[in-house]
């Protein structure tokens, strides 16, 4: 049975809660977040184990349910009512919901589902989302079909649907993260290029550890990764196809070093830094024509460039004023305007949000590092984190969560990946097989 979408009550915290005084939210529907004094009450939900339509689907049905729950809880916006507290059990995907039983335990959102392994070895995952206090479904039930190996992606797709219907924001769970997997002591570090699901599953290594590799970045559709490698003996930008692991170096002039590459939003160009004669400037390479264009020409250090999502501007860091600051220039080069406004400290690694509204950056001052965000005119600067060494933010595709590297101090200092909401809440470590650095968040997978 399908229902038409009803008006969705949006979790206002993600928008209003950031830049306005925190207020208790009153919305027309019962699905809402109470915001008092900046504390957000996570929305309680129940996700009883998805029904296995046949015995072969029994284990994966439990796994899928667990991944959905972990995705939602991991946002810091949802709180699960555990199975031990459930009054009703869901015994069939199509049986009517006993809303009173779910209201009794304050499960405001209810997710039900079923999983079937078909005769031709496909997995069919169905789900429904219910607005419990409104006594009706929220949106339509959906069905996903795929190979059994893609069960995690299907779980993430269910969680994305739930997240989108309740928050009004696009989800970010069906995504990958490229990063550098590190091992060994601090003075003999080994680094390998790797990709994984955003939650740490399905780690895949793309290089061995023979050469230093740094700072991979995904292409706009997630099919390629661009990174810096010392495999030629000198730092140089390489382009790798993720599916085939085939790589090629980008053209480079002799006696130059290149690094800090990023794709343009249409995936056809790469903006990067090139050092020659001790001076570092920003260049663009057209991947199709091979044409290389110099964008900055200054004796200062210009590096860490990042495109705006509409492709018209580039944000970068420069020490032309005497210390590192953030600047924006047209993507064709030309006059740069300074964006960072702080009178102390150093600003670096600027990254434009995929929503276009914010720039994330690394701020360094008085021996501490911070991840921060600012509006694209430099106003409303907010620091989200603080530690011995935080650097290198990357945006989730919905522009609401940032992942970054945090490294601890001392001889045993080790880097790890962390994520934080742009409200500064929900700081969490990201699971990686060992030490990790330089994360790059993919777009939603096609």
């Amino acid at each position: 049975m399908t229902r038409f979408l009803i008006p969705v009550a949006v979790l206002a915290l993600l928008i209003a809660g950031l830049f306005a005084p925190a207020v208790a939210q009153t919305s027309p529907g019962p699905l809402r977040i109470e915001i008092t004094e900046g504390v957000i009450e996570p929305l309680p939900f129940a996700a009883p184990t998805f029904i296995a339509e046949n015995a072969a689907a029994s284990d994966v049905a439990q796994d899928i349910t667990r991944v959905i729950s972990a995705d939602l809880r991991g946002t810091g916006l949802f709180r699960e009512i555990p199975a031990s507290a459930h009054i009703s059990t869901i015994t069939s995907f199509d049986s009517p919901v006993q809303y009173a039983d779910w209201k009794a335990i304050n499960a405001q959102a209810l997710i039900t589902g079923s999983v079937e392994q078909t005769a031709n070895d496909q997995l069919v995952v169905r789900f429904r989302l219910f607005d419990v206090f409104a006594d009706e479904p929220l949106g339509e039930g959906l069905q996903f079909v795929g190979s059994p190996e893609s069960w995690r992606r299907m779980a993430h797709n269910v969680a994305d649907q739930v997240y989108e219907r309740i928050t009004g924001e696009t989800g970010y769970f069906d995504t990958r993260v490229a990063f550098i997997s590190e091992s060994g002591p601090k003075n003999a570090r080994l680094k390998r290029l790797a990709v994984m699901d955003y939650d740490g599953a399905n780690v895949q290594y793309l290089t061995d550890s023979r050469a230093i590799v740094l700072a991979p970045r995904f292409s706009p559709n997630g099919d390629r990764v661009i990174y810096t490698s010392y495999e030629s003996g000198f730092p140089r930008v390489y382009l790798m196809d993720v599916a085939t692991v085939q790589r090629r170096p980008l053209d480079a002039l002799p006696d130059t070093m290149s690094f800090a590459p990023r794709f343009s939003p249409d995936g056809n160009r790469v903006v990067y830094s090139e050092s020659s004669g001790g001076n570092t400037d920003i260049y663009i390479l057209d991947l199709n024509t091979g044409q290389r264009t110099r964008l900055t020409q200054a004796p200062s250090i210009e590096t860490a460039p990042s495109f705006s999502p509409d492709g018209s501007q580039i944000v970068f860091e420069s020490d032309r004023s005497g210390r590192q600051q953030i600047y924006v220039m047209p993507a064709s080069g030309g006059e740069a305007r300074r964006v960072s406004q702080g009178t102390t400290g150093r600003y670096g690694t600027p990254v434009w949000s995929p929503r276009g509204d914010l720039i994330a950056f690394t701020f360094q001052n008085a021996g501490r590092f911070h991840i921060g965000v600012m509006r694209t005119d430099g106003s409303e600067e907010r620091l989200l984190t603080a530690s011995f060494l935080d650097e290198g933010p990357t945006w989730a595709p919905n522009g609401r969560v940032i992942m970054f590297t945090r490294e601890t101090a001392g001889t045993d200092g080790a880097p790890a990946l962390y994520s934080v909401d742009i409200s500064g809440r929900n700081l969490q470590r990201v699971a990686t097989p060992g030490m990790a650095s330089d994360p790059s968040w993919s777009p939603r997978l096609p």
Partner: protein, 164 residues
């Protein structure tokens, strides 16, 4: 030529004289190659590394050469001018107190500063190359200034070759 180089050269000459006079004893066969490659051989890269000094240090965020650095580099230049069968790859490094890309650029500045100084002392440009490792290859791994200052360095790595 500085004092260390002169005295080492003198010792080498004396050693040879002693050998010729049989002063070192032990048979009539003298192996003039015995100390080749060792730090006592002024023509060896080991001598360059340990006696001349293969590295200079920098202040935080700086790529300018201190008087001490210039003195070491002047000796490096002299050695390179004397021993023309070698080239040098100058590595620029930074400490961990900075972001990754900026430190790569800073290392490049430091390596270039050394390269330019060596050229100003007469070393042919085609015998020198530069590379930056940013903060990727620290020597000392504690997180305070005693280690950081050792990491803010440019190292001239000697290799055989006549230059490109």
């Amino acid at each position: 030529m500085n004092m260390i180089a002169k005295s080492a050269l003198l010792m080498a000459v004396l050693g040879l004289s002693a050998c010729a006079q049989g002063g070192l004893g032990g048979g009539n066969t003298v192996d003039l190659n015995a100390n080749q490659g060792a730090a006592s051989d002024p023509r060896s890269p080991a001598y360059f590394n340990q006696v001349v000094g293969d590295r200079v240090l920098f202040a935080v965020d700086q790529s300018s050469l201190s008087p001490e650095a210039q003195s070491i580099l002047a000796s490096q230049a002299q050695w390179l001018l004397t021993n023309t069968e070698y080239t040098a790859l100058i590595e620029g490094h930074a400490d961990e107190q900075g972001t990754r890309e900026y430190n790569l650029a800073l290392g490049a500045r430091r390596a270039n500063a050394v390269q330019e100084y060596l050229i100003s002392q007469g070393v042919a440009a085609n015998r020198l190359r530069t590379i930056s490792y940013g903060k990727e290859r620290p020597l000392e791994i504690c997180s305070n200034e005693s280690c950081y200052r050792q990491n803010r360095r440019a190292v001239s790595v000697i290799a055989a070759g006549a230059g490109v």
